[in-house]
Amino acid sequence: MAVTAPHCDLTPAAPYDVDRVRRDFPILSRTVRNGKKLVYLDNAATSQKPQCVIDAISRYYSEDNANVHRGVHYLSQRATDLYEDARHKINSFLGTMVGCETIFTRGATEAINLVAHGFGKGFVNAGDEVLISHMEHHSNIVPWQMLCEARGATLRVVPINDDGELIMEEFDRLLNERTKMVSVTHVSNALGTVNPVAEICRKAREAGARVLIDGAQSAPHAPIDMKAIGADFFVAAGHKMYGPTGVGVLYGRAELLDRMPPWQGGGDMILSVTFEKTTYAHIPARFEAGTPPIAEVIGLGEAADYLTKLGMDKVAQHEHDLMVYGTEQLKQVPGLTIIGNAKEKAGAISFTMDCAHPHDIGQLLDDEGIAVRAGHHCAQPVMRRYGVAATARASFGLYNTRAEIDALVAGLFRVREMFA
């Protein structure tokens, strides 16, 4: 139903043409800081948006705006169709599985909280355990801490080695019959580590535990195949996968979602309400109380379509090349230490320099129009594990180029000149 803007309409069979891809993203042609060409290497924080996503949102508000699942009028039906169409797009982007459902949330954080709340209330009791890893983003730590505190359960943490990889022997040891939930990130936002999620899901299932995979940093970078992963729940962030802010995805097994108590109460999530008793709607509506972020969902559907047309295997290959090239080039900078040297990495390279604090690195790079993140990346346990307060992080997207990595490295040499 949604019309794709012509300049976003790439032929699936075409080889990956990064210059052409860049033209889909209007912001990449702007300049910053007195005419400096923007070099955007902060994609793990949020990605830029292609014109077709911007157009889809604008078109919705210009032509189709109405509330969903309510009115009998023309626009309401149209908005509902667009909204539900986006659900199908996300389903197929994630590799549709029979018996699974996509629920739209306000973000990946809310999706994890939804599961921690609903699954926790339904299935976690005193004496049970929740297993996470040392490399989690705060959003995959704090909700489980809150759950464990509320239910009298225990939070266990799988340690990581010096390279930033999960120690799987420890995972095997910590996983036991009391483990009710395993919640692990697919790709670490702070280290770039790609975790063996299929193995984790298989082992957890054998131990009788359920698994949530945090895909906030994986969905934008590589093909996601829910069948191959085998998770009970998978979450993703719209704005990190070239879609709008304010929308996230919870993909989960219907038989579990069906048995989870509702998350928020309100309109759209009910079948009937009396003052004595409310009957809840079926999934996915049961977990989408209130007017959803309609424009954002439609925009995210468009983003998923865009990525599918580009081909996520090609995106992954392109970004892998950037990761290999970027790692090689960064190692040429004297006094630079890469934090996180896992055999399999995606998305991000974190580093420190002996002469300059990450904040100062970020500030001087910004002077040249290069955007990187400096800080703890909402992963303070990771920072403590490596004995640093912060790192600088260059994170790649599908539009980045080797030339941009060269600009980054040249900038780092200038940082060194100033501070060494």
Partner: protein, 152 residues
Amino acid sequence: MSEARAMYEQVILDHNKNPRNFGPMAEPDRVVDGFNPLCGDTLKIYLKFDGDLVSDIKFEGQGCAISKSSASLMTTLVKGRTRADAQALFDAFHHMLKTDHTAPVDEAALGKLKVFAGVREFPVRVKCATLAWHALDSALKEELPEEPVTTE
């Protein structure tokens, strides 16, 4: 010269590389922890008082060039001064960093601290510059805080 480069004045680079009064202190009268939740930077300041005088002050911790040089310069300016002088310096410094980057700087009150005027162009970095000073402000007060002082 571009704006961010201009912010890193020679005095700042010097104090960053060779911080003064850096390290722990034996038997301090006051210890205050400072924490910047934005970047995770932490610092600790130690003070000794002799009557109304700040007789000794040291600091340690992890921080960027702005926060480290600000703490270092602060210790050199406060050491041997009265509590009231130290408080007046905090007030002047704090006031400068709250003003717009085009506003004139009170050089008489600030002295060497005027090198931080350029930080005002980068609001995120103002917190780096004030972290040690908030810890000092807290240390000068009668009651010590139970939690670390933060820039938030």
